[in-house]
């Protein structure tokens, strides 16, 4: 399943995305990603550890959903774990300065409440 989610007891919604976030991949998950991110919950951790490729259009999905959460008074952070390729793409484009990115899940879970 390219996109899945889990609502934890601590009010964090974890959204996990797998596979390629390219035109095809984004097309498959966009509606569901937007719906999951439009939750009344205000703390989202998006797990990108299983994303094999993050293309421009994937970046757009991330920005769009992060912005929507921000406008709602919520916060979205990214968990990249050891996914160096995705981390690099986010750093190269400066997106990590807009949507905080973490290698460590507990740091991500802490940041989402800040």
């Amino acid at each position: 399943m390219p996109i899945d989610f889990e609502d934890a007891a601590n009010e964090i919604r974890h959204i996990k995305i797998s596979g390629r976030l390219d035109v095809l991949g984004s097309g498959e998950i966009d509606a569901k990603f937007a719906a999951l991110a439009a939750t009344e919950k205000r703390h989202l951790v998006v797990d990108l550890t299983a994303v094999s490729f993050l293309a421009s259009i994937g970046i757009r999905s991330i920005i769009s959903n992060a912005k929507a959460q921000q406008q709602r008074g919520g916060k979205m952070v990214l968990f990249v774990g050891e996914n160096l390729a995705v981390a690099k793409t986010l750093e190269m484009t400066g997106i990590d300065t807009l949507v905080p990115m973490f290698k460590d899940i507990s740091a991500a879970e802490k940041a989402v409440f800040e």
Binding site: S56, I57, I59, R60, S61, I62, I63, S64, K67, T89, M92, T93, G94, I95, T97, L98
Partner: protein, 108 residues
């Protein structure tokens, strides 16, 4: 500097790794002094790499932190496409014409 205090910056050529590193500190200096309402003319930018996007993202954040706004105008088709595909147009206002970009800045 333009009328009404809005600051205009013009970028040229390729916003790739080499060029972006070259202009980074002067761009940054331009964004942290004077009017934080910045009109960025990108009509002469013919290529935008990831690092160019980063320059804009961080620039936008810097001026927003100063109570200002970064707006872009004049993107060439391929640059416009990159900005649209990556969703940068969701966070940095982009206009075809300088006049519309200036109007947006004057709202601040």
């Amino acid at each position: 500097m333009l009328d009404q205090g809005v600051k205009q910056i013009r970028l040229f050529g390729r916003l790739d790794m080499k060029s972006t590193l070259l202009i980074d500190s002067s761009f940054s200096a331009a964004l942290t002094s004077g009017d934080p309402r910045i009109l960025l003319d990108i009509s002469a930018v013919d290529f935008m790499a990831s690092i160019g996007i980063r320059l804009l993202v961080i620039g936008a954040k810097t001026v927003a932190g100063r109570g200002g706004q970064l707006v872009l105008f004049g993107a060439q088709p391929n640059v416009a496409k990159t900005l649209k595909m990556t969703g940068i147009e969701l966070i940095i206002p982009i206009f075809d014409q300088a006049e519309d970009a200036i109007s947006r800045l004057k709202e601040i």
